[in-house]
């Protein structure tokens, strides 16, 4: 009766090629730096990956819903200075400051979500605003690098569990499992639906506004967590520490095969993307590329990585002729 459903292949997982690329890069890296495959080396690599990975996980949610979010670096900066000023000063500092940074992240995320979903503002513009605002707040809390992160945070979170499993690995596993669960909830399905076609989602009865509010909120919490983990790495507060970070977060998401147009991709890709960017820097260092060439190579690798990351999407799409079908409809959401 119809030919349509049979002769078209199922799409490949969008993060497949990124994962392959990661393996290749890791192998090359460990050949050049044998210490990489020791427990210490792996722990170190994961510690270096986790901040970017958690931030990329958060950003992926927003991008899946076809919005953009620049506020990550702002939230990370605020979280970092909060941890550096609070965690040693109050009882149960590590836990209270964790709670605090998650709340701050959630708050910023909800503000973003409210501006975007309920006021209908462009996400790129208003998250740029909240990002700058957060960076300002970070400077107010701590006007120069300094402060002190509780030893508990620094030691425990960068160490291993039972001496065999890196804590950062456990946290990453938790993030990924959280995503695997989220993906199967109603919210998870709604995120993909809204990112694919907000108008159709509205017509099916999905609450588009609340879904967008949800992704910004979740992303905010992820950024707060990323800031907390950053503090564990650096051990100190620096209101400008994350300034160079923003584009890497976006690059990680893109390398992971998540479409910037929304509706396609996933958090696992973003995490792998963060891993690729981290191992890339280590690899260049291990191979002994001179400092001033590093940027050229890292830029090059990034482009190749993005190409790889999108291979699955390209291969799947080749069979469908109208490459982009974004139906435009007359019903409006707002």
């Amino acid at each position: 009766m119809n030919q349509t459903s049979r002769d078209r292949r199922r799409p490949l997982p969008s993060s497949l090629f990124a994962a392959l690329l990661y393996v290749v890069m890791f192998v090359i890296y460990s050949i050049n730096a044998p210490s990489a495959i020791t427990l210490l080396g792996i722990t170190d690599l994961l510690n270096n990956t986790i901040v970017l990975a958690i931030a990329a996980a958060g950003l992926t949610l927003v991008i899946l819903a076809a919005e953009l979010d620049l506020s990550s670096v702002g939230v990370i900066a605020v979280s970092n200075v909060i941890v550096a000023t609070v965690s040693t000063k109050i009882p149960a500092g590590p836990f209270v400051s964790l709670l605090l940074v998650c709340s701050v992240g959630l708050l910023v995320g909800l503000i973003n979500g409210w501006l975007v979903a309920f006021l209908g503002l462009q996400s790129l513009a208003c998250t740029l605003g909240t990002m700058i605002m957060c960076q300002g707040v970070a400077l107010v809390i701590l006007d120069a690098p300094g402060g002190e992160v509780a030893a508990f945070i620094m030691n425990r979170l960068t160490d291993t569990v039972f001496g065999i499993i890196p804590v950062a690995g456990v946290i990453l596993a938790a993030v990924v499992s959280g995503w695997l669960l989220l993906r199967r909830t109603r919210l998870g399905i709604a995120i993909y639906a809204v990112g694919t076609d907000a108008v159709a989602s509205h017509l099916t009865g999905i609450n588009v506004k609340r879904t967008k509010l949800g992704v910004f909120g979740l992303a905010g919490i992820a950024y707060g967590l990323a800031g907390y983990m950053l503090s564990a790495q650096t051990g100190t507060g620096d209101p400008r520490v994350s300034n160079s970070f923003l584009l890497y977060v976006f690059a990680a998401v893109a390398i992971g095969g998540t479409s910037l147009g929304g509706g396609r991709g996933g958090v696992i890709g973003g995490v792998i993307g963060a891993g690729i960017l981290t191992v890339m820097q280590k690899l260049l260092f291990a191979v002994g590329v001179a400092d001033f060439y590093t940027n050229i190579f890292s830029g090059l690798i990034m482009v190749v990585a993005i190409l790889f990351g999108n291979l699955s999407a390209i291969l799947t799409l080749r069979q469908r002729v109208p490459l982009i079908r974004r139906p435009n409809r007359e019903y409006s959401v707002h």
């Binding site: 030919q3 993909y192 159709a200 017509l203 009865g205 609450n207 396609r264 002729v321 079908r325 409809r329």
Partner: protein, 506 residues
């Protein structure tokens, strides 16, 4: 009992958008177990009424009562809670989600920890699809991989799944060639006491399904009567405000038998089509009849340069050509009027004039700067060919009705210096008046030596407009019917895969 009273009673429903009144004091009722046709040209207010009843738009004034209680929904969920569900003309499916997920949106079943139970949903979908007579679809297929016709079926099934008190079907057969499927579903549905509001442009469907119809014109209700005893002409008159005397004027064939064919395919195969061979000559209108998903979209795409050929060849004016892109096709004089008007046909954020002038904008430019005066001249000349009023040229094309958008696309195709038009269901979802203009455009184009390759889901159009018609079934051409033998019945049975006996009966 409530079974005798109306399910829905709308009184003086009023809605305006800015200065334009979309619905002007419309009142009507719907009774249990009835199908009421809602007719009107594009822009008559039908879709506004659908949006209001579906909960997408809140009316400015007026009361709506359902089952004796006031009804004022603010979203689809509230409407559904009161038993109102809608199959939208624009299809509200999410292409990146599976058929199963789409059917159960927005609230698919979850287990105790809030996870959607995909497998259970897919199993349920399997039985649902079987129950509703939709075959050839696996529940895990992504909706984006389905043909438009199948998507429309899924949309309809989803609206019916929640067993509504009031079912709104907005142009439900726009992409479905096998309409009996829907008709029998509707018949079985009515037994449950549901009221159905059936929005369509097709009079034969109204005659087949409805006992009563409501006609809107310019936002006002102009007729609300039993269909028995009113003639087609009265209906047209009420819809258009003028009489449509003659549906399909007689047309002299003007085929140039001597020149090489404008477009010829020889044993052409591509993704979704196999072994297609035909000739299309100057002045000829060649029809394609097919049920949905029989390869006609792939064939059109291949001819427009959108699909890579696996085998076979295409000749233009007797010379073999390789159509690598729509651009090379256009250079060869082949222009496609695509299937999905909104996503493939129009440039959504441009003015109507810019939508028309895009392919020939160089002609209106000097030193690469566009001369607006010259552009306007060209555009107005093209607009006149398709009877598009000049006042529509300046606004953004979004603001135009479907019919006027289609006229715009035709005007653009004519301007592009087409020798051969590939028309994929050009009258889908357009009003009666526009349809006749489109017929006129097609005929004029052929009379002046153009060649037309014409697929339509309305078999009547093929019968009355075409010089001959091909029939596609399972991705290939199974029959060719000459003008003298063209009847809707014959085309339908061929398209459904029936073999025809020597005397032409099935």
């Amino acid at each position: 009992m409530s079974s005798l009273g109306p399910i829905l009673q709308a009184t003086n429903v009023h809605k305006r958008y800015g200065a334009t009144v979309a619905l002007d004091e419309v009142s009507f009722s719907l009774y249990p177990g009835e199908v009421c046709g809602l007719l009107g040209e594009n822009g008559a207010g039908k879709s506004t009424l659908v949006k209001i009843l579906s909960g997408i738009v809140v009316p400015d004034a007026g009361q709506i009562v359902i089952d004796g209680r006031a009804y004022r929904p603010h979203n689809i969920i509230e409407a559904r809670a009161r038993g109102v569900s809608t199959a939208f003309q624009e299809l509200s499916l999410i292409p990146t989600l599976s058929v199963a997920a789409n059917l159960f949106l927005p609230r698919p079943k979850v287990n105790v920890i809030g996870l959607v139970t995909m497998r259970a949903i897919e199993e349920e979908t399997e039985t649902m699809l079987k129950e509703y007579g939709v075959s050839g679809v696996s529940p895990s297929t992504l909706v984006g991989d389905l043909s438009l016709g199948l998507r429309q079926r899924i949309e309809i099934v989803r609206a019916m799944l929640c067993r509504p008190r009031l079912l709104l079907l907005d142009e439900p057969t726009a992409a479905i060639a096998d309409r009996e499927w829907l008709f029998s579903l509707i018949d079985s549905f009515l037994a449950g006491g549901t009221a159905i509001l059936y929005i369509t442009h097709r009079l034969d469907e109204v005659r087949r399904l409805c006992k009563r119809c409501v006609i809107l014109r310019n936002g006002k209700k102009v007729l609300d009567a039993a269909l028995e005893g009113i003639t087609d002409d009265q209906i047209f008159t009420n819809m258009a405000g003028r009489s449509v005397v003659e549906a399909y004027p007689v047309r002299e064939s003007n085929i140039d038998e001597f020149a090489p064919p404008v477009l010829a395919a020889h044993q052409l195969s591509a993704a979704g089509v196999n072994d297609i061979t035909f000739d299309l000559r100057r002045g000829e209108i060649l029809g394609i009849a097919a049920l949905e998903g029989q390869g006609q979209s792939s064939l059109f795409r291949a001819l427009a340069g959108l699909e890579r050929l696996k085998a076979g060849s295409i000749e233009v004016n007797g010379k073999p050509v390789r159509l690598r892109s729509p651009h090379t096709a256009r250079d060869a004089g082949i222009v496609l009027v695509p299937e999905e008007r909104k996503s493939e046909g129009i440039f959504n954020d441009l003015s109507t004039a810019a939508n028309i002038s895009i392919p020939i904008i160089n002609q209106a430019a000097r030193f690469n700067f566009i001369q607006t005066g010259k552009e306007r001249q060209i555009v107005e000349r093209a607009a006149a060919l398709v009877d598009l009023n000049n006042r529509f040229l300046r606004p953004n094309i979004n603001a135009l009705s479907g019919g006027n958008q289609q006229k715009t696309i035709l005007a653009r195709s004519l301007l592009a210096n087409a020798k051969c038009l590939l028309l994929f269901d050009p009258t889908r979802g357009v009003d009666v008046g526009t349809k006749h203009i489109i017929y006129q455009v097609i005929r004029n184009f052929a009379r002046e030596g153009g060649a037309v390759f014409f697929f339509s889901t309305e078999l009547d159009e093929l019968v009355h407009l075409c010089d001959r018609s091909l029939v596609m079934y399972r991705n290939t051409i199974v029959a060719e019917v000459r003008k003298e033998e063209l009847t809707p019945h014959l085309l339908l049975s061929l398209a459904a895969g029936h073999k025809i006996d020597a005397d032409g009966t099935t």
